[in-house]
Amino acid sequence: MKTRSPDEFLQTIHTLAVKIGRRVRLMEVCGTHTTAIARAGLRSTLPESIELVSGPGCPVCVTAQREIERMLLLARRSNVIICTFGDMIRVPGVDSSLEQERSRGADIRVVYSPDDAMHIAEEKTEKEIVFLAVGFETTAPGIAATVLEAVEKKIKNFSLFVSHKLITPAMEAVLHGGASIDGFITPGHVSVVLGSNEFTPLAEKFTIPCVATGFEPSDVLEGIAMLLEAIAEKRCGSFIQYVRAVKPDGNPRAREILFRVYEITDAEWRGLGIIPQSGLRLKKEFSSLDAIERFSLPQIPPVELSDCLCGDVLKGNIHPNECPLFGQACTPRTPVGPCMVSSEGACAARYKYGG
């Protein structure tokens, strides 16, 4: 059995950094990794030549501003109860947030699971329950399963505001955008669903290594060591550090349920713009559960939050502390952009843990 001592992985990392002998930039594309790396203070333990940069891995952060504005329009409807995962409610809109709408009387509830939202719909039959379906491939299958159950139970007052994103097209967009990335710490729990094979075409196309990595400090260090080993040996491909949970083929059943309900479509990302085939929408047979159609929500023109550099943070162009507002006008208590709101946002993690 492999040793799991963080110190030994660190030693390997330092040896490999010398062997590689140049600057190496590794990107993580998962908010849970962003937090784990910051919380454990891993950056300061790495050789100077090894740079860890955050990418578009926090679902709340990558939600386009005009999607936020449309969620706010929904929240203002008097017969609607909005159910959402927690981080979404403080994301600033141009002149409001879900939290502010709530203080003005809107019914907005934080749920732990889409299933909880469906139960609220069963209880509050006189209201329309809208679940904000945000998240990557880890989260979408469970929401798809909830949709199937709601249809089976003929629950009529339940719908979804769908804003799901797919991680692989975003990784590709980051590389196409010219960010110099030598390897990806691929998201562990997205990989549980997709499997490590999902990243093989990208790894080969851009000749870089990807390593599906777990979330404990020793996992992350081992993942980094594996990436450096591949870089030193000029190997590309998609590898697994998080063998406890990730299989090459992932969870085919979860994907089958996901694609029974959703189909792939173009999606708009904060900072990255519209990325072809990078989002999900409900299939035609489930379109009656689409809140945008049910409430005839208008399209709204693109909007940007002035001065916030989240877009550049998400593309890996800058570190959070390079934003002039970081820690000054923008703190977790007075967040200017979503990367400071979400507990998994790169700005919030850097503010809270430093590094």
Binding site: A40, F85, D115, D116, T139, P141, A245
Partner: protein, 78 residues
């Protein structure tokens, strides 16, 4: 938001299960995983089991988790 945590299945009725997450009992859906029995370990994300785990792997993750002194709260579970 993509956090997931190992849990032990304590009760199953159809696709509805109760699981023990570090001593807390919570309802979980089993619709995304095959062949899970009482006593098995699964990885839970936002109220759904997304993978079956070998007991040894689940216990190893939990041990690493506890080493970090991670507190179990809604944030951890979502």
């Amino acid at each position: 938001m993509c956090l997931a945590i190992p849990a032990k299945v304590t009760e199953i009725v159809g696709v509805d299960a109760m699981v023990d997450i570090l001593g807390n009992v919570r309802p979980t859906k089993l619709s995304l995983v095959d062949d899970v029995s009482v006593g098995d370990y699964v990885l839970i994300h936002a109220g759904y089991a997304i993978q079956k785990l070998e007991a040894q792997d689940a216990l190893e993750t939990l041990a690493l988790f506890e080493e970090m002194g991670a507190a179990l709260n809604e944030d951890t579970l979502a």
